[in-house]
Symmetry: C2
Subunit: 199 residues, 2 copies
């Protein structure tokens, strides 16, 4: 499995589909959808993704059908830029790149540099489908601490990595979650979807 | 909720019951059954357990019916000794206390001080029901690293604690798990049960 397809798979998981038919009537949701070990890591101690196998029963199309926009942090943007357009089968999304250091981003993408809270709130209020928080860790922390993430969709892999990069770090406050969906795969992956309350 | 009942509940979760009827024909299993936040903590940053509510749908009796023995680390033993016999409804288990410093333990309990691997293997080979690894963190680490834990039964609470005591720390090797059971509760708790392979 290549670097591109691994990243691609890591960041995709199952989600609730109800919202797809409602997106014109409610504010767009910002969804953090990611693969995680049972002990809460998204990378092993040496940056490993090899534990993150592709489950043949995963329905990528279902998740993609509710998304038309992705949020990408600077590091993830630079990594995915090396993929020459991304892995095969990746739909065309509207991309927002978050960075305090970049001066410009690729054609078609939008650079977000200013007040994240007001910029993201404005995007969420626009008409459209839901938004996928594609990564990475620093952007996730910022958006969590600003209370801007609406949904977590975690694919829990049947492994203890016992170290590495935790999905959540430097989050200021404990966060209550509301479970909205679970799905168990024969491979041993369990998909858990939660709503987050507003701060 | 008192300290005793909190501890009592934290360490109990649902499990697969098949083994109860088979225990005379297979080696006893050592089961780590514990409540954990979605981000992998068993205590908050200041030792909090207040997130660990009691779920009225939890079937304690089912878990207790397959257990007749508990393993307890020194710190957990000293903490539970303050409970004057433990919380109401706690069945009478055979207790093994693991400590390198204690010289004696209460009547009826057995102190394990020597070679943990051979002592635990001997107990697991004895006739009896399964064994509950009651706590705490240091004993869990030792038993994990020796490959002596057979089953994880984790009650995943719908909260991000964002810090505190991780369930697993200082585990030497990544550990592949085999999912055997999931159960979702209306409270938002998800119970995940995994088998561990032998090292």
């Amino acid at each position: 499995m290549g670097k591109g397809s691994r990243l691609y798979f890591r960041l995709v998981s199952k989600s609730v589909v109800l919202h797809t038919t409602l997106h014109n009537f409610t504010m767009r949701k910002l969804v953090l959808s990611v693969a995680m070990s049972l002990d809460g890591f998204i990378e092993g101690p040496n940056g490993e993704y090899d534990w993150c196998f592709i489950d043949k029963d995963y329905d990528f199309a279902e998740f993609f059908s509710r998304i038309d926009t992705i949020f990408v942090g600077r590091k993830t943007y630079e990594m995915s830029s090396e993929m020459e357009g991304g892995p095969a089968g990746f739909p065309k999304f509207k991309e927002y790149i978050f960075s305090t250091t970049l001066q410009q981003v690729k054609d078609g993408a939008t650079l977000i540099q200013g007040d994240i809270k007001s910029e993201v709130t404005k995007i969420k209020q626009e008409e459209g489908k839901d938004i996928w928080l594609f990564g990475g860790a620093k952007l996730t922390t910022s958006l969590m601490n600003l209370g801007l993430i609406d949904e977590l969709s975690l694919a829990i892999y049947p492994i203890l990595l016992c170290g590495g990069k935790p999905l959540f770090s430097n989050i200021k406050d404990r966060t209550q979650l509301s479970l909205v969906n679970t799905k168990t795969y024969s491979s041993g992956i369990v998909s858990l979807t939660y709503n987050l309350g507003q701060k």
